[in-house]
Amino acid sequence: MENDITIRIGGESGEGTISGGDILALAAARWGYHVYTFRTFPAEILGGPCMFQVRISDRPVKSMGDNADVLICLNKEAYDRNIGELRHGGVLIYDPSDFTPDTGDCITYAIPFNEIARKEVQLFQTKNMVMLGAISGLFGPPIEAIVQVVQSKLAKSRKSNSTLMEKNILALEIAKKYVIAQLSKNDPYLLGPVAKADRVVLNGNQAIVAGALAAECRFFAGYPITPASDIMEGLAKELPQVGGTFLQAEDEIAALAAVLGASYGGARAMTATSGPGFSLMTELIGLSSMAELPAVIIDSQRAGPSTGMPTKMEQSDLSFALNAGHGDTPRIVVAPANVADCYDLTILAFNMAERYQMPVLFLTDQSLSARVESVEMGVFKPAVLQRRVEYDTSNNGADEKVAVGAGAANDYSRYAYTATGISPMTKPGPGAMTYVATGLEHNEQGHPDYEPEDHTAMMEKRFRKLDTAAEELPKPERYGDENATIGIIGWGSTEGAIQEAIDRARAKGYKVASLHPRILSPLPDRTIREFIRSVEKVIVPECNYSGQLANLLGAKYGLQAIRVNKFGGIPFTAGEILRAIEEVS
């Protein structure tokens, strides 16, 4: 019996497909299983085809699964759209009143969802509970775990009443009894009991909100945009609880401007957006870098260009994030690989912004924003905070060694030339040294200054901070074979699929390893060079058209990477990466 099942539910948005899948994932996680979800959203607010896929396993899950083991189609369109994703010999579940499938080599179970909901439960909206009851009867997740989740969901709902809960339970039980009595199970998928574990179940955006709160983010300004809005909504609710303030701005330009205003006042501040909003922010990214004001900017990437596909993922803002803005503009760019990373890396992003006094661009994407994972509770440790180097009147900045032209005795040099490039800051308040933050080139005191030697020295000082950061920041760790001949370098949300592909390839005898840097600017040069040197071929899989990381690695290290690009709006499966490994071997 398989203890690793991928179940896909296809249906119509608004008829409970997504909520049914959500309940299944949560119930499985509460029961003690690892879960990983993938979903597609229609562009419409209500209606339109949607899909929810959950992989449930007794081992940690790294990717969404290659194909569905079990496909549940709640209408004919769902069948037409999704049947190609069902594995050979997989299970197809459908309602014979909806359509008659072309069975092929799959195992089919016909279950009258509509009739059970309408006639036996006498409440059609319980159709997704009927589906969940059938799943319980066929594949093992206990009714109690599902009921618990439904109860806690209904407790938060406006529609809640005791009759509805009773009907839901009735639907679950009738459907379970039906499949046990009427169907003869002839598939290998059955989830057995597992030990309960101390895990939490959440998506990437929820982990970013938790990370921001833990990192002492105390100001957020943003503008609604898919798929980043729930970061804003989360912080709108949570910030006042911890003494922070929130502003829904009139546009993304105002959002980042407000963040920089708050940062100037000393707050750890953040905004979150997606590609179109990020494009609008670029002038202010330059200001953040030039005036040396910390800011964290989350970009949940979606398929571009222009408005593109707001509800689909892509990893196509890397080149832009690395270069956004006119002039040479130092910034830090990071990309999380999974939900746990969304927490840790958000904290690191704040620490880096504050320490290096520059914008930190955080590239998540739609698939990771919406991806629900079960994560060990222990991952969510209290944040260790790094703070701004503050100006101290007694020693002009404590630990920072002054390299060139120490400021005049009584004149505060906000932009003092230091060995690290980091100049001690002040913030407005009683007794503080005043200064003017400006986007104009300036001297150490912050006064406008266009002298060639001053601009040269100031450019070098600002960029020196990236050298300091490159020295101080954590380096990525190699995954896989020590003596690999094939290397994979990836970034962002593809890590799980890459690692799973490596596990499977190694089991087949291939020598493969990967490197997955979280920090993409400044890149860990030495680690990457060593990795490239250690293998014969390097594959760079990316969900974008042009191969943006491959281009960067080519430009920086002369790497002729084998590019594997997927750009349909759907993330890689491990199987696709595995095929790439097999093809180059």
């Binding site: 929820q206 911890v242 105002a254 002038e283 308040g429 007794g431 005043t434 933050a437």
Partner: protein, 281 residues
């Protein structure tokens, strides 16, 4: 500066950076009036922030000894609002010109008005783009010939006071740079006002659009019988084309967004991640 001044004089707010403005620029009058206004209120330079965008007048913060933030074109208002929201203890003043405030940054004015965040904005209006050397601005009169309107301006003229009144800005005033004493009094009143204070200042450009004589003739104090709570009459005065009324058009005390936001945080608790994550358990 570090020591707190007990009885400040205007020159205590003056920085060592020499203004970049042309001789005779109206902005000198506004700068002096601002020094005076700050001194009259005995505001500490370390707890005052002057925010600006881009333009001749936006160089302003560099000439102040207060904290300053010289941001990018058009964005002084959102920078100032973000700062005030997170630091309601500070005095925040936003300054800029007619291009910054009514062209590239015009959209922000609408939302600053709606939020009524407690900041004071001083717009130095010379009806022309000075820093880029003489193109038309939103407040240039219809038909005005400039380098960018060689056949005369085809658009109509923006009315800053009427616009602010229509947006229900809670403090609306106009001053004239040639009358710095009156202007200083308005700035002082504006900073005392709890809410978004909008001070429109006629501040002529000696180089690209000579309006000194016209404004000397047109500037008229708001009639003594005008009530500052009568928005209808304030609009009537603002729509007057022959005269440029100066003084306080309108004032209304209402809740500010920074105040409201900080009412919400009164019950704030320290953040415990382990406790927070229970919602996902």
């Amino acid at each position: 500066m570090t020591q707190t001044i007990i009885n400040p004089t205007p020159k205590d707010y003056k920085s060592e950076v020499k203004p970049t403005w042309c001789p005779g620029c109206g902005d000198f009058g506004v700068l002096n009036a601002t020094y005076r206004g700050l001194a009259a209120l005995k505001l500490s330079p370390e707890q005052t922030v002057v925010v600006s965008g881009i333009g001749c007048s936006s160089r302003f913060p560099h000439f102040m000894k207060t904290f300053g933030f010289h941001s990018v074109h058009g964005r002084a208002l959102p920078v100032a609002q973000g700062l005030k929201m997170s630091r309601p203890d500070l005095t925040v003043v936003a300054v800029g010109g007619d291009g910054d405030s009514f062209s590239i940054g015009a959209g922000h004015l609408v939302h600053a008005a709606l939020r009524n965040i407690d900041i004071t904005v001083i717009v130095m209006d010379n009806e022309i783009y000075g820093l880029t050397k003489g193109q038309t601005s939103p407040t240039s009169p219809h038909g005005h010939v400039t380098k960018s309107t060689p056949y005369g301006l085809l658009a109509s003229q923006f009315n800053p006071i009427a616009t602010a009144l229509s947006l229900n800005v809670s403090f609306v005033a106009r001053g004239y740079s040639a009358k710095p004493k009156d202007l200083a009094a308005l700035i002082e009143q504006g900073m005392l006002h709890k809410g978004f204070s909008f001070i429109h200042v006629l501040s002529p450009c000696p180089t690209f659009y000579h309006t000194f004589d016209a404004w000397d003739a047109a500037v008229t104090p708001i009639p003594a019988d005008h009530s500052i709570h009568d928005r209808g009459n304030a609009v009537k005065l603002a729509m007057e084309t022959e005269k440029q009324f100066t003084g306080l058009f309108y004032q209304e005390e209402r809740q500010t967004m920074d105040q409201a936001a900080h009412e919400l945080v009164k019950q704030a608790k320290t953040f415990e991640i382990a406790q927070y994550m229970q919602r996902y358990a």
